[in-house]
Symmetry: C2
Amino acid sequence: MTAEPVSMTDVRELVDGALRAAVGRLDPRTYRVAAYHFGWTDKEGRPHKAPAGKALRPALALLSARAAVAPQESALPGAVAVELTHAFSLLHDDIMDGDRTRRHRPAAWTVFGEAPAILAGDALLALAGEVLLEAPGQGSARAARALAAATRRLIAGQALDMDFETQRRISLDECVSMASDKTAALLACSCSIGAVLDGASEALSGALEAFGADLGIAFQLADDLLGIWGDPAATGKPALSDLRSRKMSLPVVAALNSDTPEASQLADLYGRPARSGEELSEAELAETAALVEAAGGRAWAEMEAESRIQRAAEHLITAKLPEPVRTGFLHIADFVTSRDH
Amino acid sequence: MTAEPVSMTDVRELVDGALRAAVGRLDPRTYRVAAYHFGWTDKEGRPHKAPAGKALRPALALLSARAAVAPQESALPGAVAVELTHAFSLLHDDIMDGDRTRRHRPAAWTVFGEAPAILAGDALLALAGEVLLEAPGQGSARAARALAAATRRLIAGQALDMDFETQRRISLDECVSMASDKTAALLACSCSIGAVLDGASEALSGALEAFGADLGIAFQLADDLLGIWGDPAATGKPALSDLRSRKMSLPVVAALNSDTPEASQLADLYGRPARSGEELSEAELAETAALVEAAGGRAWAEMEAESRIQRAAEHLITAKLPEPVRTGFLHIADFVTSRDH
């Protein structure tokens, strides 16, 4: 057990071997799609080094073992399982949302076809459960159950998000609840899975989950802010990208629900599904962003993110964590929310 | 514990409540698609009574509890989990294979769209694991692990099957191995899951799995025979339906691999992907069926099915099952293979 906060690079290295070993069990056809998705191979299956993902969930999983004063290595099956579940959801979401790019590369379904990408997602989801259940120790079944429940919420969140596309009016509560299912549930599970694997008390695992739930909303808020005001060079997406796809993100929904004149102008401009199919011009996109800001959507999202991080930190105090572990979690919270926007 | 072999109607009734309770946990959007798929509701979500599936896997799961001299009710979570996994695979396979009809009704993806059907399949897969892990008793984690491994094989089988569509030459071994993964793995899991939940010995669960593995191949052979020579009134599919879709089914692959003049005529007529897109005429379809038969594909499939059932029955003798349980398993084996073709 190291005393230092885990660095993201260390996590990636520690988890990568276990992740590759797990994915290596898949049949060669499904493996090919999964390995491409993880950035280990190119389209032809040749070794490749794509910029790796942030390994945020594995980092949280390893820290959560240390929260239970267990060696971080004991959480490796948990770290692998949450990363597999995350990968499953990205593979399927990209198909469902028609997103053609993932981490600056063509999304797997555009390369291999929809059917193989559906199947690879299925395989990673099943594998996540299998890896967890093979973990030694008393907590593996409890961890697998928690992950399955988080997956159910993740799916419910995606279903609600897709439904938003056909709705005229979405309340801010609905939108927060969607993010809470789609994004925060798996992060909450990641923050507690190492402790659960170690057989931690419900009090400890509950506090870690609560930390992750608030962190997850803060993460989504930060992401949504980046989706509008993020620097294309940093995000890898075009400027104002979430507005182009008329995404009902948190700042937009907050703005639409504000009791301001800008809210109705925004509703008029952004209003879907009435005008779906029609693309917003560059001028309209800039106007939309300005309206979201003028209606208070940006300020609300920034404040709410801060307040969620504050609340998240309070859960860590309740949990009475060892100091370096608490610092580690806060370091990640900082990383998550301080991205440039 | 009843002494009589389980009737399929009893099984459906016993399992239906538990299955509905499990699926009832899903969010309303995902539930809607799943309930339609199970035949509980129509497209608009109104109660509906579609002809139910065979409940073959749940029936095997309940029997497998009795094989371990446990009450059949103790296997209910297992029965629900295998049925959920089967439903997941049907939902996704129909999308991947472009099949528009399922149990005489429009397939779910044609009614709700691909994305909601992908998501519903995901939800049922995650739910299967969750239901099993909530089962009381020592065996639940072992059962969940076995189910996850079976799911991995099911996926590998589907991946191989899709690959067959682009291959010129498939060996009979490859084709049997595909069926063994795609069809037999989940049946083998169903035949042992009740015993595993009860903490049965590896010897007993292994014998039950071996029974299910042979039963599964026999089941696929019977299905493939029906797909060519089945009565449309009974199968609900057009005559010669598997030949229309140029499916590389076991009788066809056996015929293609026979060292007969008919084999090359068949390869010429059926040869894909060279002519894919082109439909076979009714006359060509009849000729294809005749060639498969003349090349020995039909006779081989019939004999192989019988021999698999024979081997399956031997595993039951090894397992030293209570007589009514053995009879129950054989009753199902008979049901599976004696369908009209």
